[in-house]
């Protein structure tokens, strides 16, 4: 199947084809597989932390011995190791897991196919982007083995704490510079590709929603990441060259006056960090929404409701995401004018999010919904994202944030957005496009087990955290039972931890399915889901150069169930709009 036409392409040596490849599909798969591995690592760190939270001070069986006496003396987790796990969990999940999977993986693999392009605009740049990402990720992981362990100042790395932290923080900075560079190279490539390489007839209003989402995401990455890259270099200078960008004069650490130039400001870091990290939230969520749109349209067998409204909303969200960052800093003592401005912009940005969610739910109305595994994940995304989005309101309003800031309520809120939200959407994408990438379908039964087990477990993980946060429990506490209000909700920690370990077990089903289906999944033709967008016009998997003939686009992206047509889907690439000549069952699978 993979060795189809294109005889003019000479067979390339293995390392050019699969390692230093310039083919967007190979790079996409490289990104996706690396990101999935990093996600597993990041999740595993959390599963270890959950032991300490459920059973504070008790030795962890077996694993406690393996991890060694520095990290877990006598099998009991050391507080500094707990902080390392926490900081690295956040860093890995955001910068090495979700973003590379959503943008590097799906963006790379799907975008050129959906716009009918033979490859990305700059294939070599694309390769360099991956090869900046992978070393960045690997040195992050390697930092666990340096003196003093990995970064331990939270994924936010607020100075002065991060400035005076052990050597792992320096590695964190180097790793971040590589990861950010990778994203910047990728983003410019996406913008040029989407603007320049669209197939004939593929106007902006005919682009699949996924491509719109990727385009906005690419602009966010391009404009928001440079400030963090600069900030990270400044932090490196503070650590290595004796500067004081983030260090004010007169610091006394452990009774000793710090010998520094001083005159800096720790809040500068927070502004630079959150100027990236809030748009970053939308970098995490927009590609996920793009995937959900594709999967919902395909499985409801009808056009997306409010396609143009969706596009306007993501563009608006993109703009607004640059003016809300300081709502992460309400407790730093900012003036009332500033805080009023930022809580107002925060409320404004919630409106397009409500519209997007409404469009998706309205898209279900009047459909003929096939509950395939990708659709189950995409369906679950909606209520999960709704919970995550709604619980952002009390955090975005200054008065209620006084109480809820830095509590577990925050953890629950953004995990609902990113874990059962974004990650579920990414799973939907994996189940949906796996046949295109491999020529075989993932097993549906295992897929449904994976979905239901994950769906139940993940709510046991994050729902109780709202109650812990309400009770006032702060985040990042090695031992929450120090506090009376922590002891009041300690029973929930046991529930959460077992939920997390159950969630881990559920992912084993996915891992098995992923590899098993590579060998024995049902073989598929070009268009196994009876879909309408351009990626389904190519062989599965597509060869180098993607399309056998140059595709031409004749219509809007989601022309399902058009009255008077023989089939319930009218692909963009079909002149007649009746799908391929093969007989197709009507009314869904």
């Amino acid at each position: 199947m993979s060795d189809h036409a294109h005889a003019e392409h000479h067979e390339m040596p293995f390392w050019r084809k699969y390692i230093f490849s310039v083919d967007h599909k190979v790079i996409g798969i490289q990104y996706a597989v690396s990101a999935l591995v990093f996600l597993l690592v990041g999740f595993s760190l959390m599963m270890i932390m959950r032991w300490q939270l459920a059973y504070p001070g008790q030795p962890l069986p077996i694993l406690g011995k393996i991890l060694g006496d520095t990290a877990m003396p006598g099998g009991v987790m050391a507080p500094e190791f707990y902080n390392q796990l926490g900081a690295m969990h956040g860093t890995i999940m955001v910068f090495m897991g979700v973003v590379p999977l959503a943008v590097g993986g799906f963006g790379n693999f799907v975008t050129p196919l959906q716009i009918g392009a033979p490859d990305m605009a700059f294939p070599r740049l694309n390769m360099i982007s991956y090869w900046a990402f992978l070393p960045g990720g690997l040195i992050m992981l390697a930092s666990f083995f340096v003196q003093g362990g990995a970064a331990q100042s939270g994924w936010t790395s607020y100075p002065p704490l991060s400035d005076i932290a052990p050597a792992g923080q320096t590695i964190w900075c180097f790793g971040m510079v590589l990861l950010i560079t990778s994203s910047l190279l990728g983003s410019i490539n996406f913008i040029v590709t989407i603007v320049q390489l669209r197939a004939k007839g593929l106007t902006y209003w005919r682009l699949p929603f996924f491509v719109h989402a990727q385009l906005v995401t690419a602009f966010l990455l391009l404009l928001a990441f440079p400030p963090l890259e600069a900030a990270t270099v400044l932090q490196l200078m503070d650590r290595l060259a004796g500067t004081s960008f983030f260090l004010p004069s007169g610091l006394v650490v452990s009774g000793e006056q710090l010998k520094i130039a001083g005159g800096g400001n720790p809040l500068l870091w927070q502004h630079l960090f959150w100027f990236l990290a809030h748009p970053e939230v939308y970098v995490l969520i927009l590609p996920a929404m793009g995937i959900v749109a594709e999967v919902i349209a395909n499985n409801t067998r009808k056009p997306l409701w409010g396609y143009r409204l969706l596009v306007y909303s993501v563009v608006f969200v993109g703009f607004m995401s640059f003016v809300v960052w300081a709502h992460h800093m309400f407790m730093t003592g900012m003036g009332t004018t500033m805080s009023t401005f930022f809580q107002t912009t925060t409320m404004i940005i919630s409106v397009p999010s409500v519209i997007i969610l409404t469009c998706f739910i309205m898209s279900l109305y009047g459909g003929a919904i096939r509950f395939t595994t990708p659709m189950l994940f995409a369906t679950a995304f909606l209520p999960m994202f709704a919970i995550g989005g709604l619980t952002g309101l009390p955090l975005g309003l200054t008065a209620s944030d006084i109480y809820l800031h830095d509590t577990f309520y925050v953890i629950a809120h953004f995990h609902y957005v990113v874990a059962p939200g974004t990650l579920f959407a990414l799973f939907a994408g994996i189940y949906y496009w796996y046949p295109k990438a491999t020529g075989r379908k993932l097993n549906e039964t295992l897929g449904k087990i994976h979905f239901w087990a994950s769906f139940v477990a993940i709510n046991f993980v994050f729902m109780p955290m709202f109650f812990q946060g309400m009770a006032g429990l702060s985040r990042r506490l090695y031992d929450p039972t120090i506090y009376a209000h922590g002891r009041g909700v300690q029973a929930l920690n046991v529930v959460i931890s077992w939920g997390a370990w159950g969630l881990g077990l559920a992912q084993l089903v996915f891992i098995v399915n992923f590899f098993l289906s590579l060998k024995s999944g049902a073989r598929v033709a070009e268009n196994p889901w009876n879909a309408t967008t351009l990626e389904w016009a190519t062989p599965s998997p597509p060869g180098h150069g993607n399309f056998l003939t140059e595709p031409v686009v004749y219509r809007e992206p989601y022309e399902y169930s058009v009255p008077g047509k023989a089939n319930d889907f009218s692909p963009q690439f079909s002149p007649e709009g009746d799908g391929p000549a093969r007989p197709q069952p009507r009314g869904g699978a």
């Binding site: 009808k302 309003l397 008065a399 120090i482 009314g587």
Partner: protein, 266 residues
């Protein structure tokens, strides 16, 4: 400590300003619940009613949905109300109207890894001179023992006494990294920013023994950076101040450590 005051929802509130914050949190959650349940019912209805089955076809033409416009307008109106009707006035009233200095108890807080140092002005209500160079193991805030105003100053570690029904103005600062001053029962939270002294204020409505915790990751001892909050009756507070005031004639340098009422030092 009375553990019955803590459960799975907001703990008891003993502050004058906290009721409005609690009210906002309650209103928000009713609003969120209403939206979620409303959406949820429609969502489940769609999943059931429009499931694929033999003979059922999807409808191509987009449904005209006036209701969604009303719902979105409703959401916007409620958010405007939450923003300008509840949150902003509460925040402004609390943050931009400090209590009358002459009636308030003025305390300084110097946070460090991993302890809270409270500096009381003592009877003369004037803080003594402090100096970074004087900071040491037995002088956590660097109080100059020779300054005239400082002779009656009280310094405590991880013990925060103040009287009920009296406004307290707390000047928050830190020696080293960012911490966050957090007393859940008082609905107070404020980051300590190195290089800045930030005032916060509150007034307690009830006496009792509560907790102060650090809400911003500050290092390996972050989790145990807690202090006892002891809200006293005015009489008890005056007595405490009396008992802990430094004896007037003693050599000042040696006086400091003995003044710590059972310091719970790191």
């Amino acid at each position: 400590m009375d553990e019955t005051k803590y459960g799975w929802w907001l703990p008891v509130d003993v502050s004058t300003h906290g009721a409005k914050i609690d009210q906002l949190i309650a209103v928000l959650h009713w609003f969120m619940l209403l939206l979620f349940v409303g959406w949820g019912i429609f969502f489940v209805y769609c999943l059931w009613q429009y499931r694929a089955r033999p003979g059922h076809l999807a409808i191509y033409a987009p449904v005209k949905a006036i209701a969604t416009k009303y719902i979105e307008a409703f959401v916007v109106v409620v958010e405007v109300f939450l923003l300008f009707g509840l949150s902003t006035p509460v925040w402004l009233a609390y943050k931009s109207q400090p209590p009358d200095e002459s009636k308030a108890l003025h305390v300084r807080l110097v946070a460090e890894q991993f302890a809270w140092n409270f500096h009381y002005a003592g009877k003369d209500r004037k803080f003594g001179r402090t100096d970074l160079a004087l900071i040491g193991g037995d002088n956590p805030v660097g109080l100059d023992p020779d300054s005239a105003e400082g002779k009656d100053d009280i310094v405590t570690v991880n013990q925060f006494h103040f009287p009920v029904h009296t406004p307290v103005i707390l000047d928050i600062s830190t020696k080293d990294v960012i911490h966050s001053f957090n007393i859940p029962v008082l609905r107070v939270k404020q980051d300590t920013i190195p290089g800045q002294r930030i005032p916060v204020w509150f007034e307690a409505t009830d006496t009792g023994h509560f907790e102060l915790g650090c809400a911003q990751l500050c290092g390996l001892g972050h989790y145990r950076m807690r202090a006892d909050v002891l809200i006293d009756t005015p009489e008890d507070f005056a007595k405490w101040e009396q008992e802990n005031a430094p004896p007037p004639q003693e050599a000042p340098a040696a006086a400091a450590p003995e003044n710590h009422p059972a310091p719970e030092k790191k």
